[in-house]
Point group: D3
Chain length 132, copies 6
């Protein structure tokens, strides 16, 4: 269980409830994930994190599904099981296909392999990759 437990909607302060409402409205769902219920014990962190996520994950130059794929890629690389499961679910809800999910994993796997080969072989930067 989460360290401080989970704050359900019914128990939440008006401040926390307003953020839960915004999460549900923005995502067009009628529930809030355990992550938010866990960090709600620190309303300042809840508010800051939600507002940042809302801003960063909104479609912009990159569409929403691609942003979820990037989120999953980071979460797999840093080995966060909850984050992998929740953002894989989000990505699929937003339209990620099974074929795309499989290709995503293949790319993450290959990138992890070459990341290590680069370090192990002590490869120096090509001049052309240096920013001017």
């Amino acid at each position: 269980m989460a360290i401080f437990g989970l704050i359900e909607y019914e128990q939440a302060s008006p401040e926390v409830r307003a953020i839960y409402d915004d999460i549900m409205a923005t995502r067009k769902v009628d529930w809030v994930g355990n992550f938010w219920k866990a960090i709600a014990h620190d309303p300042a962190t809840l508010k800051r994190t939600w507002e940042s996520i809302k801003q960063v994950m909104a479609p912009g130059a990159i569409d929403a599904v691609t942003k979820e794929m990037i989120y999953v890629a980071v979460s797999v690389t840093s080995q966060c099981e909850y984050c992998i499961a929740s953002h894989t679910a989000s990505a699929r809800n937003k339209g990620l296909t099974d074929a795309q999910l499989k290709e995503l994993m293949a790319v993450v796997g290959m990138a992890s392999e070459t990341n290590k080969l680069v370090k192990g072989y002590q490869v120096e930067m090509d001049e052309r990759f240096k920013t001017p």
Copy 2:
């Protein structure tokens, strides 16, 4: 410098040269990066890695630019500077815009933050995120 040095095209064995040729032809460029020149000291690894990368990074259900973004996301998360620089360059060559690159970094940063909050707060998996 790379641990065994770099094998330039002129010095390369026919086996290695054939792979360099395929890399350049596939990518439509006239040069090969230091990564390939470094691992060319192990032709089996060079061949296997190139063929895997070629298969995995080819456009499929996910387009080529998005695959490069995923590659960069993994490389930033695992802190491989060479990989970040080389795949950021690749992504831009394939059409990644500055606006997209900035949004990519913002997503990677936020995902890294929430990955840690999840672990720190010891958040348990929502039932709905469990695969059946």
Copy 3:
């Protein structure tokens, strides 16, 4: 279950028992955690690790609670659930307040985010941060 199982006090050799005794005496508790019972299968590692931990975690220029906070920060960053849970418990036993625990997590999260932005943007070191 731990790979070799857990060595309970009753089963322990005199050598292992002496270390368990020292752990309990140092910490003023009447139990030993699973970590110690698991590595007790390698008495040399048990002894070396306990003596190192005892030396390093003793209050010195940094007080005991702050040392536990640092321990938790490392454990969250390297995603070790057992270590997070056990050292969060230790920290609280030593006086860490809920408010401090929440701020700790907020700092760990933000540091993780900016760590990635630094790498992603390929930020070069300021001259003033270089050690002379």
Copy 4:
């Protein structure tokens, strides 16, 4: 060099300049680090990151020096050289002593070691560490 270069104060837009001014005023210094100058190419990220850092790093239940120590601990664990150097410098400016810095490193090192022993020995969670 940073991927988009560094935006110096003189070149900065009024929006960016206002944040630089706030960074300098908050920190009581007359310069801004390369990190901020690099991400200033994305004013939304600059603003969001600075406001988050300002909120999170302000002294609260945890004092400012301890927050910097936690920041350094995370940065060492995730191997971000720039972050280690810049936040070690910040911590010392805020009063971290050499003795504390050395103890900080000793704790980070030991935590990293035991994090791995826990995983390698596949240690299961003690009942007492589970949150209720």
Copy 5:
């Protein structure tokens, strides 16, 4: 449960079944691990990964048990519990002794500690370690 579930031998396509057969024949066992059954949903990844693993893990200049030890060392460092458990089992099946397993963990732990001390102390490379 794995995201797409597990493909058992009986359900598998001829293409997947051929790889399962090769895994069992190569390893001289009559079962296939969940990892392979999970990625079998992407036959291209299954085939590529198995062929790569088969090539890389075959005894060569390094014997099979040592290769498994290296695999475990990487898996402990990147905190992958499944990989630690499965490759520890493989290593033992191939002859790894309990004494060796314990020494392996001790080395992994110490390396993790000094990795962090190096970064924390910002140690610069010795000239003698630079490759010519």
Copy 6:
């Protein structure tokens, strides 16, 4: 440069000098690496780390070259360039061949790839891999 600079033999206190002497005698060399000279600013950490390394890296159930390979595998996985370079050099001094070094890197790379596939596909543990 290292945060506190490097303590050369000539400047060292008798306590530090004794450890330098032991490092050189144990390794049968006439020099000490920057790592030791950097942490020598904290004699307690220097002594504890050296004694631990000396104990752990001594040939036992696992020979010295294999231990160095494991050290390199961990260092590549946690992306510590200094550690990779210094322990690759040590391994070669102790007899690691070029062919072995290349196979080592291939194993580290493949393990990193499958570590991520396991997490991404959310593979559950096989019953047979669970310790009794």
